[in-house]
C-alpha cells in the first residue's frame, strides 16, 4: 500500500471560469454537470488522480486511464505503460485503498474495463518474455486476484471496450512491440500488424479479427470507442514521414475497416496522431483529439466523414455522456465542453494541474 493519499478538494485551487471572452465565452453554468476522472500532473511534477468534483489523490507514478468500478465507490487508476500497478482509490476519502500488481514478467498497457456488475476487471497486458498481448481477468470480490489470461490475438493491446452484450471484448492491438528494458522504444515498426480483435470474455475465443490494408500497416490502432454495432478507431502513424494519412476509421462486424473521409489539409494538421476518441450518446458523432496538432476533430458516423476541426492547446482527453456534447481536457489545465455544431469548445474549468491523456465521466 502506498503512503500516497488524498490531497483534498481542488475546489479551492481550481477556478471555475465564467469569464467573458469572445468566441471562448462559456455560457453561464452553475457548476460542473459531470464528475470527471483522469490522471494528471501538478506543476511541481507530482502525479495525481483527479476524481469526484475535482478531488485529487497523489500517485507514486504516472497513470493513464481512470475507470469507476460499477456498483462501488472505487476508482481504478491504471499505471502508464509499462506500469506494473493499478491503484484502487476510495472515492469518498480519496485514499489509495489497494494496489493491484501485474504478475511477474508482465506489465499493463494503461487501459482496462469492468464488467457491468463491477465484479471482473479486464486489463490489457504484455507477457514480457514472449511479447504476447494478453487480457488479464481479475475478480474484485477477491481483492482483484488474477483469474486467468486471455490472448489479445495481437501485439501491444492498448484500449479495450466491453460490448453491451457483456461478453464481447473489443481490443485495439496497436501492433507495436516494446520491452521494458528498452524503455518505450518501438522494436518492430517494419513488420507491425495492428488489429482490432473481438474476443469472448466467457471462453476466451477469438470471434473476429480485422487488420488494416497492407499499405497502412504502420497505423497503430490505439484508441477505440464503441456503440452496439460500430467501433470507431483512432490510430497513430508510425511511418515517420511528413505525408498526411487517414487517422480515423470505422468498423462494423463482418466488414473491413473503413477510413472516414477527411481533407488532406485537416489530416496534415492532425500530425499523424490521435490521442483519444469518444462517441456521443446519440451515436451519431465521434470526437477525436490530436494533441500533437493541438487540434480536435468531429466526425459524423452517418455521413462517414470529418465535419469540423478546431484548435485546443495540448488537448487529449475526451468523453461524452450526452447527445452531441463532448468534454475535453488539456495539459494547459483547461476542461472544455463542446456541442456539435458550435465552432469551438467552451472552457468550463481552469485547473492548476495538467490533465493527462484520458478523461472519463464516472
Amino acid at each position: 500500500m502506498s503512503a500516497s493519499g488524498s490531497l483534498g478538494k481542488i475546489g479551492l485551487l481550481a477556478s471555475l471560469t465564467n469569464t467573458a471572452k469572445g468566441a471562448m465565452e462559456p455560457r453561464q453554468r452553475s457548476s460542473l454537470s459531470a464528475t470527471f476522472a483522469s490522471a494528471a500532473q501538478s506543476k511541481n511534477g507530482d502525479y495525481l488522480a483527479v476524481h469526484n468534483g475535482l478531488q485529487l489523490s497523489k500517485l507514486p507514478q504516472r497513470a493513464h486511464q481512470s475507470i469507476a468500478r460499477p456498483k462501488s465507490a472505487e476508482l481504478l487508476v491504471i499505471g502508464r505503460r509499462p506500469a506494473t500497478q493499478i491503484w484502487v482509490i476510495d472515492r469518498a476519502s480519496g485514499q489509495i485503498k489497494d494496489e493491484i500488481h501485474s504478475e511477474d514478467a508482465h506489465h499493463f498497457y494503461g487501459h482496462a474495463v469492468f464488467t457491468n456488475d463491477g465484479r471482473y476487471l479486464i486489463t490489457t497486458e504484455q507477457n514480457i518474455e514472449t511479447g504476447e498481448g494478453l487480457l488479464g481477468v481479475r475478480d474484485a470480490f477477491t481483492k482483484f486476484d488474477l483469474i486467468r489470461y486471455i490472448p489479445s490475438f495481437g501485439i501491444g493491446p492498448h484500449e479495450l471496450k466491453l460490448h453491451e452484450d457483456s461478453d464481447t471484448l473489443i481490443v485495439a492491438n496497436g501492433g507495436i512491440k516494446t520491452h521494458p528494458n528498452s524503455s518505450r522504444d518501438k522494436l518492430n515498426l517494419d513488420t507491425m500488424q495492428p488489429s482490432l480483435a473481438y474476443i469472448s470474455l466467457k471462453n476466451g475465443q477469438l470471434i473476429e479479427k480485422v487488420n488494416l490494408p497492407d499499405a497502412l500497416h504502420k497505423l497503430s490502432i490505439r484508441h477505440i470507442d464503441i456503440t452496439n454495432d460500430t467501433c470507431v478507431l483512432a490510430v497513430q502513424d508510425q511511418s515517420d514521414t511528413a505525408l498526411p494519412t487517414p487517422l480515423v476509421a470505422l468498423h462494423k462486424r463482418g466488414h473491413a475497416i473503413k477510413f472516414l473521409d477527411c481533407s488532406q489539409n485537416w489530416q496534415a494538421l492532425m500530425k499523424g496522431y490521435c490521442g483519444s476518441v469518444a462517441i456521443d450518446k446519440s451515436k451519431q458523432f465521434a470526437c477525436v483529439t490530436h494533441p500533437r496538432g493541438n487540434l480536435v476533430s468531429i466526425w459524423s458516423l452517418q455521413s462517414k466523414k470529418a465535419i469540423h476541426t478546431f484548435r485546443a492547446n495540448d488537448v487529449c482527453g475526451v468523453c461524452s455522456n450526452k447527445e452531441k456534447i463532448f468534454y475535453l481536457s488539456a495539459g494547459s489545465g483547461k476542461l472544455y465542453e463542446y456541442t456539435v455544431g458550435e465552432r469551438k469548445a467552451h472552457v468550463i474549468a481552469q485547473t492548476p494541474f495538467a490533465w493527462d491523456n484520458h478523461l472519463n465521466i464516472i
Partner: protein, 362 residues
C-alpha cells in the same frame, strides 16, 4: 529590459500550492506585449525576407533556363543559398499559416528517409507533361518535390549543367518548383501579416488562439522544439552511435554544403527570438520576462553554442567522419541540449506548460 525584470521581481510570488517552487507571474498585458512584438518584429520580417529571396531565386532560374551556362548556374546556386538561408531563419515557426496545406513540410521535405525527393523528381521529369507544372496544378505534385531539397538536387547534381541544358523539361521543372516556393513564401508573408491581429486580440470571435497564454505558448514552442529538431534530426541522426557509423548524407542540405550555415542561421534566429528585437515600449523576447539570473545563464549558453559552431569546419559532409569534427559535433549537440533544458525550465517557471499531452502521449 532590466526595468521590466525589476517590476517582475516585485510580483514574484511563492506559490504554496503543492509546495511549488517559486514561479513568476506574468500579467496578461505583458504576455500580449511579448506576443505582438515577437510576431511583428521577429516573425513577419523573416517571412518578408523569405518572400524576397525566393522571388529572386525564381527569377534567376528563369534566366538560367533561357541560356543555361555555367556562370548562370553559379548565380542560381547563389540565389538558392540565400533563399535557403532565409528559410532556415524562419524554419522554427511551425504553427499558423505554414501548418495549413502542409506547407512547412512542402518547403523542405526533410529528412527524406526513403529517397522520395529523387524518386518523385525522376517521375515528374519523365512525364514531360507541362500541365503538371502549371502554378495552379503544382500543389498536386508530391509534397517531396515542392521545395528546397528538390531544387537543390536539380542544381547540385553532379552533372546538373548538362542535365538541365540537354533536357529543357527538366529545366522547366526547376522553374516550376522555384516559382512554387516563391508563391508559397509570398502567401505566407501575406497570411502572417493578416495574423498579427490574432496576437493583439487573441480572444476575438473565431480567433486562431484561445487567449494570450495560448498565443504565447505557441510562440515559445518555436524556441524549444526546433532545438530538439537540431539535436535529434540535424545532428544525432547523422552522427549515429560512433564516428565509423556517421552518415554524411543524413546531414541537412549536404548536396549544397549548406549544413553548417543552416545550423548557424537556426541558432542566430533562435537567439534573436530569445533576446528580442529592439523595440521600444514592448516586451521583446523571452529574455525580458525572466529573472536576471535566468537570463544571464541562458545568454551564456547561447554564447557557448556559438563558440562550438565557430570551431566547426565546412563542409561538414567532408569532415563528419573525422574524429575531431565528430567529437565537436557531439559537443555542439550537448551544448544545445543544455541550452534547451534551461529555456524549458525558465518557461515552466513562468507557469507555461509547453505541452504535456502534445509531447508525450501513448
Amino acid at each position: 529590459m532590466r526595468i521590466i525584470n525589476k517590476r517582475l521581481s516585485k510580483i514574484l510570488l511563492i506559490n504554496c500550492l503543492f509546495g511549488l517552487s517559486s514561479s513568476i507571474v506574468i500579467a496578461k498585458s505583458d504576455w500580449r506585449s511579448f506576443n505582438t512584438s515577437t510576431a511583428t518584429n521577429h516573425v513577419l520580417p523573416a517571412y518578408k525576407r523569405l518572400a524576397l529571396t525566393t522571388t529572386s531565386m525564381s527569377r534567376e532560374t528563369g534566366a538560367f533556363c533561357e541560356s543555361p551556362t555555367l556562370k548562370a548556374l553559379v548565380e542560381v546556386k547563389q540565389e538558392f543559398a540565400s533563399a535557403l538561408n532565409a528559410w532556415q531563419a524562419i524554419q522554427h515557426i511551425n504553427f499558423g499559416p505554414v501548418e495549413t496545406l502542409s506547407r512547412h513540410a512542402a518547403m523542405e521535405f526533410w529528412p527524406d528517409k526513403k529517397n522520395h525527393v529523387n524518386k518523385h523528381l525522376t517521375k515528374l521529369v519523365a512525364t514531360k507533361n507541362d500541365d503538371k507544372l502549371m502554378p495552379a496544378n503544382f500543389v498536386q505534385n508530391s509534397i517531396a518535390i515542392r521545395g528546397f531539397p528538390a531544387i537543390e538536387l536539380l542544381i547540385y547534381n553532379k552533372d546538373a549543367l548538362r542535365q538541365l541544358s540537354d533536357d529543357t523539361f527538366r529545366c522547366q521543372v526547376l522553374i516550376a518548383i522555384s516559382e512554387h516556393v516563391s508563391l508559397t513564401s509570398q502567401a505566407l508573408e501575406k497570411e502572417w501579416a493578416a495574423m498579427l491581429s490574432q496576437f493583439s486580440d487573441p480572444t476575438q470571435v473565431d480567433g486562431f488562439f484561445e487567449d494570450d497564454i495560448d498565443a504565447a505558448t505557441a510562440l515559445l514552442r518555436t524556441l524549444v522544439e526546433p532545438l530538439e529538431v537540431i539535436e535529434d534530426l540535424k545532428l544525432k541522426r547523422a552522427l549515429g552511435s560512433n564516428v565509423s557509423y556517421a552518415k554524411p548524407k543524413r546531414l541537412e542540405s549536404w548536396r549544397s554544403a549548406q549544413t553548417l550555415n543552416n545550423l548557424k542561421t537556426n541558432l542566430a534566429s533562435l537567439e534573436s527570438l530569445y533576446g528580442g528585437e529592439a523595440a521600444s515600449n514592448q516586451i521583446s523576447g523571452l529574455s525580458a520576462l525572466l529573472s536576471q539570473k535566468q537570463d544571464l545563464a541562458i545568454k551564456a549558453q547561447f554564447a557557448e553554442v556559438n563558440r562550438d559552431l565557430s570551431r566547426l569546419p565546412s563542409p561538414l559532409t567532408e569532415h563528419i567522419n573525422k574524429a575531431e569534427t565528430y567529437a565537436a559535433l557531439n559537443g555542439l549537440r550537448e551544448s544545445i541540449q543544455l541550452l534547451r533544458e534551461s529555456i524549458e525550465k525558465s518557461i515552466a517557471s513562468l507557469g507555461i506548460n509547453l505541452g504535456f499531452n502534445s509531447r508525450d502521449g501513448d
